[in-house]
């Protein structure tokens, strides 16, 4: 594939928190001002580095949630149980705080609005973040490419961007969203609680002969299972791109 990441800074830049928006009880979106940020591709991520006053530092990778916008990047962070960085970003970071960012990173798990094929996005938990960037980028570009999202969450209260997704689906007939609720289904929902399986992928996705581009993101086990189901359903493995967050999901 021709072309990789767009022009970017390769070393650490300083970002200032402009806004911290709660998404669910355990996740927030941080909007960051980065004066040297030009653009990025949907699906790319940033590395975030935090340094304590005594010099101790650590870093983590977070998918970019926003569509491209000069000088501004949004990440959505899920608080990981007993985590070291995510509790700081979710509970402590506030407007005016500074952190260091490197990126945008990634040329493998990316979607461009110019890609003509229909798109299937399959998200497990916080794996929704880079896929939301794809949906937002598609809308910002005025793309008519058909896009379907299957979003697997434990329960409705865990669904990040739920209101925005509802609004986008209402306003754009090219976007479809279906959910798999693995533990608790919402009141009045006429489906059955359960994991993403072949039936859900069939109902909420595209048939293999449409040769869609497929992006799967979430915990490693989820991604492995879904990728296997997609291949079993006849999808070309070469059209399936994956991003695994590890056992905790990011």
């Amino acid at each position: 594939m021709a072309g990789t990441a767009v022009l970017r800074r390769l070393s650490w830049q300083v970002g200032t928190v402009a806004e911290s928006r709660p998404e669910t009880a355990t996740a927030v979106t941080l909007a960051l001002d980065l004066p040297e940020w030009t653009t990025h591709l949907a699906g790319q991520h940033v590395d975030v580095r935090l340094t304590a006053p005594d010099g101790y530092s650590t870093q983590r990778s977070y998918s970019i949630a926003s569509a491209p916008s000069p000088g501004r990047v949004e990440i959505t962070v899920q608080r990981v149980e007993d985590g070291e960085v995510s509790p700081y970003l979710v509970d402590v970071a506030r407007p005016g705080d500074e952190l260091e960012l490197r990126g945008p990173i990634g040329g493998y798990f990316v979607w461009r609005a110019a890609d003509p094929e229909p798109v299937l996005l399959v998200a497990g938990g916080s794996g929704i973040v880079p896929l939301m960037a794809m949906a937002r980028t598609r809308a910002a570009a005025g793309s008519r490419t058909p896009m379907r999202l299957i979003y697997s969450v434990r329960g409705p209260e865990d669904a990040i961007y739920a209101d925005e997704l509802r609004r986008r689906v209402r306003d754009d007939h090219g976007l479809d969203v279906s959910y798999a609720y693995t533990r608790r289904a919402p009141d009045g929902w006429n489906g059955v609680a359960g994991r993403v399986d072949a039936a859900r992928l069939g109902a909420g996705g595209w048939p293999a002969d449409l040769a869609p581009r497929i992006f799967v993101c979430g915990p490693t086990g989820f991604v492995e299972t879904v990728a296997d189901l997609l291949v079993d359903a006849g999808h070309d493995p070469g059209r399936i791109r994956t991003e695994r967050f590890g056992p905790t999901g990011g």
């Binding site: 340094t51 101790y56 402590v92 705080d97 500074e98």
Partner: protein, 198 residues
């Protein structure tokens, strides 16, 4: 000069006397360069092979029959965490080496799963090393190196090879997995010997 993030302290505590650059941790991080090997004690074997090719083997039952020690040691990982006063039980290398005849200076350590490391033979002796099979009163969990790991606490923890399966004694020093990747050949935490050239 990194930018300080207001209010970030990180998980480790840094107020206790530790080797330079280390942070105290209360949990027990699991680090691994590959998938966790699953080794059944029924088939487990530990070998020492001398520079002359003389081989000494221990089955699990034979290891369990040897005199063991309970020791409390401090662990220092090159990734900067230290865990103090950790309780282990195992067989001292002094006990295993007792009947091994060797004039070699170096030991090359091999583990199930392919991990390797190296250290001077002298650093395995005189009460400095154990084949450990219990941690905190319980059988050693696979993610921490069970059924048995090497424990050499005076060096950085990457020398304490998890899932240990054997030691090769040699007149030559052959660097192991992390030593060939840029880590220090010896790894003394008190001299902060983390990387090649330190």
């Amino acid at each position: 000069m990194p930018v300080i993030s207001r209010g970030f302290t990180g998980r480790g505590r840094r107020d206790v006397a530790l080797p330079p650059g280390q942070y105290l941790t209360e949990d027990f991080p699991v680090l691994s360069a590959g998938p966790t090997p699953r080794v059944d004690t029924g088939t487990w074997q530990f070998s020492i092979v001398t520079e002359a090719g003389q081989r000494h083997d221990w089955s699990w039952d034979r290891l369990m029959a040897l005199p063991a020690e309970s020791v409390t040691v401090d662990l220092h990982c090159v990734t900067k965490w230290s865990k103090l006063h950790t309780p282990w039980r195992g067989v001292a290398l002094d006990t295993l080496i007792e009947d091994v005849e060797s004039a070699a200076d170096y030991a090359f350590i091999r583990s199930y799963g392919g991990y390797t490391t190296n250290l001077p033979l002298a650093d395995l002796l005189d009460g400095q090393a154990w084949i450990a099979y219990e941690y905190d009163g319980e059988p050693l969990h696979p993610e921490h190196g069970g059924p048995a790991r090497l424990l050499v606490p005076h060096l950085y923890l990457w020398k304490s090879a998890k899932w240990v399966r054997g030691i090769e004694l040699s007149h030559e020093d052959n660097p192991g997995f992390w030593e060939t990747a840029g880590y220090h050949n010896y790894g003394d935490p008190w001299q902060e010997q983390r990387y090649y050239g330190d």
